[in-house]
């Protein structure tokens, strides 16, 4: 039975693995995930006086970890903060995907059919490929993508967290998706 008063010395054994897996599912780097768990425990210790027994200790620690993960993305995005004009981060630009003269998809980048897409969702391999593709995104795009589609923050919350204008935000989301699609196709999605 969970005691009503938290016992910090027991947190690593009691909640460490679960928090670590959650952190690792978000940041993919084992050292960073470990660091986030440690920061979570230290912040929880600092805020022990604010812990209310009606929330479970586990839930409380997860709330703190989630905040740490968002802070991690914010730092990641700020390291590579760029303006709208220079948002390509050295990655493919709009011109690689769309013909400048008419805005249509270029022949090389036009989306191919993902006939195997439904089955792919069940595959462990897809998860691994998607993670690798996410890791290859420029840091700011990776942070925005994760906050929107994994943490499920709203566009408004993300703009606030990362100090982005909404125009900038939409461009980043659009480019992240374009690059992920291309990366997934490069790794076999759509080749039946």
């Amino acid at each position: 039975m969970t005691p009503s008063t938290p016992v910090p010395a027991q947190w690593p054994d009691r909640y460490g693995n679960e928090l670590y897996r959650f952190a690792l599912s978000r940041v993919s780097d084992a050292d960073v995930a470990e660091e986030l768990v440690q920061e979570t425990f230290l912040s929880a210790l600092d805020g022990l006086a604010t812990f209310r027994a009606e929330a479970s200790e586990r839930t409380w620690l997860f709330v703190i970890l989630r905040r740490k993960i968002i802070d991690h993305y914010r730092r990641q995005a700020r390291v590579s903060h760029v303006g709208l004009d220079e948002i390509s981060d050295g990655g493919p630009s709009e011109a690689d995907y769309f013909a400048p003269e008419n805005g249509h998809w270029t022949a090389q980048q036009a989306p191919v059919s993902w006939l195997n897409a439904d089955a792919a969702l069940e595959q462990q391999e897809l998860h691994e490929i998607l993670q690798r593709c996410q890791d290859r995104l420029p840091p700011q795009q990776a942070a925005v993508f994760a906050l929107r589609f994994v943490e499920e923050l709203s566009a408004e919350e993300i703009c606030q967290e990362l100090g982005l204008s909404s125009a900038n935000y939409w461009v980043i989301v659009h480019r992240a998706k374009l690059q992920l699609r291309r990366c997934l196709e490069k790794h076999g999605l759509g080749k039946n």
Partner: protein, 73 residues
């Protein structure tokens, strides 16, 4: 970008009509519209699968954490 925006914000009537018409006559865009939804679904499913994997913190890491907590108490 209207495709992305419609997931977060209700588009105006004109924008909705414009997007519908565009997707109707641009098969690549229509295909991309479906793919962009799939990518978002997969990202969530993928994180969820990793969160329930068998990965564990090493005993050494747990020990370090216990020591940091004891030092901070």
């Amino acid at each position: 970008m209207l495709l992305e925006q419609q997931a977060d914000l209700p588009l105006g009537r004109g924008q909705r009509a414009s997007l519908w018409l565009h997707l109707r006559y641009c098969p690549y865009c229509s295909r991309y519209a479906k793919q962009t939804v799939l990518i978002a679904e997969w990202a969530r499913a993928s994180a969820s699968a990793r969160a329930s994997s068998g990965m564990v913190l090493s005993d050494a890491a747990k020990q370090r954490m216990r020591e940091r907590l004891a030092a901070a108490e």
